[in-house]
Symmetry: C2
Subunit: 256 residues, 2 copies
């Protein structure tokens, strides 16, 4: 039957429409059918069901994602066990350090920012809530990796690699595993311009009572202000205190 490029499950097609509407704010039926290589009538057919279910809305004859996603996103975030308590602690950390404080968790082998709190001098990094980022070149990412089984870490590295985003990025597996070992012994992870030039960070992992990793909290700022000494001497203790509070609250919810 010649070339039939649209040999795809219906589910993937629906989610493909959602993905296309993530990239472009609003799309018409024809634009969408071109982009996904499906018939115009097929695109219309699926847009119609998405519209009926309230997942897309129509502006004139353009379709865009509805705010239902905002509700689902907030819901999903609120279900992360440490979210409530960790948010409070991250706010306090930002106030105490005047820097940027972050809460992040691992999902699907990537790191996801759940919450940011900006202190008075906080840098404004390009890290929107909900974005997925690699773990190997972030302070919180290395803190999280340090608490995963080696097998799991290897599987993550197989899947996502160790892309180089700055001259200091760790791109060698053995180097990373050595670093993770050091993080386990000292209790915190440090990022020396490994993600972005000029930016330092320090993070600690948050553990459940069974030792499984729940997420990480970190402080980030310009490398001039966040010297390695300042981070290890001052911020490691601040983070450790927050870490304790969060872990206690998660493991003993009756204290909350």
């Amino acid at each position: 039957m010649g070339t039939n490029p649209s040999k795809q499950k219906t589910g993937k097609k629906i989610l493909g429409i959602i993905n296309a509407l993530r990239k472009d704010e609003a799309l018409g039926v024809t634009e969408l059918s071109d982009r996904l290589n499906i018939a115009k009538s097929t695109a219309h057919y699926h847009l119609d069901t998405l519209h009926e279910e309230g997942y897309v809305v129509k502006d004139d004859s353009k379709y865009r994602l509805s705010l239902q996603f905002l509700r689902i996103g907030e819901l999903t975030r609120s279900r992360v066990p440490i979210f409530e308590t960790a948010t409070e602690e991250v706010e306090k950390l930002a106030g105490r350090t005047n820097e940027l404080a972050i809460l992040a968790v691992e999902e699907q082998g990537m790191g996801v920012y759940l919450y940011k709190a900006a202190g008075e001098n906080a840098i404004d990094i390009d890290a929107p809530i909900g974005r997925f980022a690699h773990l190997h070149n972030r302070a919180y990412g290395k803190a999280i990796l340090s608490q995963l089984k080696e097998e799991r870490v290897k599987s993550i590295l197989d899947e996502h690699g160790l892309p180089e985003t700055s001259a200091q990025t760790i791109t060698d597996r053995d180097d990373l595993f050595n670093e993770l070992e050091q993080i386990r012994t000292q209790g915190f992870a440090i990022n020396r311009e490994e993600s972005i030039e000029g930016i330092h960070g320090i993070a600690v992992p948050i553990l459940d009572n069974d030792g499984s990793i729940l997420g990480g909290i970190s402080i980030a700022g310009p490398s001039e202000r966040l010297s390695v000494e300042k981070m290890t001497d001052d911020y490691a203790d601040l983070l450790s205190r927050s870490q304790n509070i969060i872990e206690l609250t998660v493991q003993h919810p009756e204290f909350q």
Copy 2:
């Protein structure tokens, strides 16, 4: 062929799974198939595609919604034209009044909270970001309705009704239309315990340069503290100032 209850589009089935996972945090294949009246193998089939595309994740053998929804939700919110500027103004309003300040927009005939800022004495109402709420019994909702064409308002009331959530809720269409007329003349909308007993609110609409409604901002608090006089004398002006700033920024983005 006897009873076949699952006469449904595949798209609706996929979105039905997402909806089921909104209600319950994590579900297994069998639980989901029971809930949606589909075969176990069918539930598994769709969960698998959702998993492949990263929209659900597996904990052991339970499935739950992934944090991709958090990213999509944030993205969707950030695309609302007034969001950036209005957020700043809502923060200022909370600081100036020490009450709860809110930004909301209309979508699909309902109101959606986009942002909340809590002043020092702010009440903690059950209004999570992204939740859809009726428009007829909220200050911001009436402010928005007052700027829609009568035809559109009627269609919204047809679809969603005027449910009574307190003794003061406006449940009569004519009463509502009279109120909307008054709101248009005075420029702001007031909520006197129409949604929740003991809670007052005041809101102004935000308009585009073509006169179309973009959303509303409001201040809410206990009825003892927010007397009608206090709201009309003090808060109406505060809201009006924020309204002007937001409208100027939206209509002249070069000032931003």
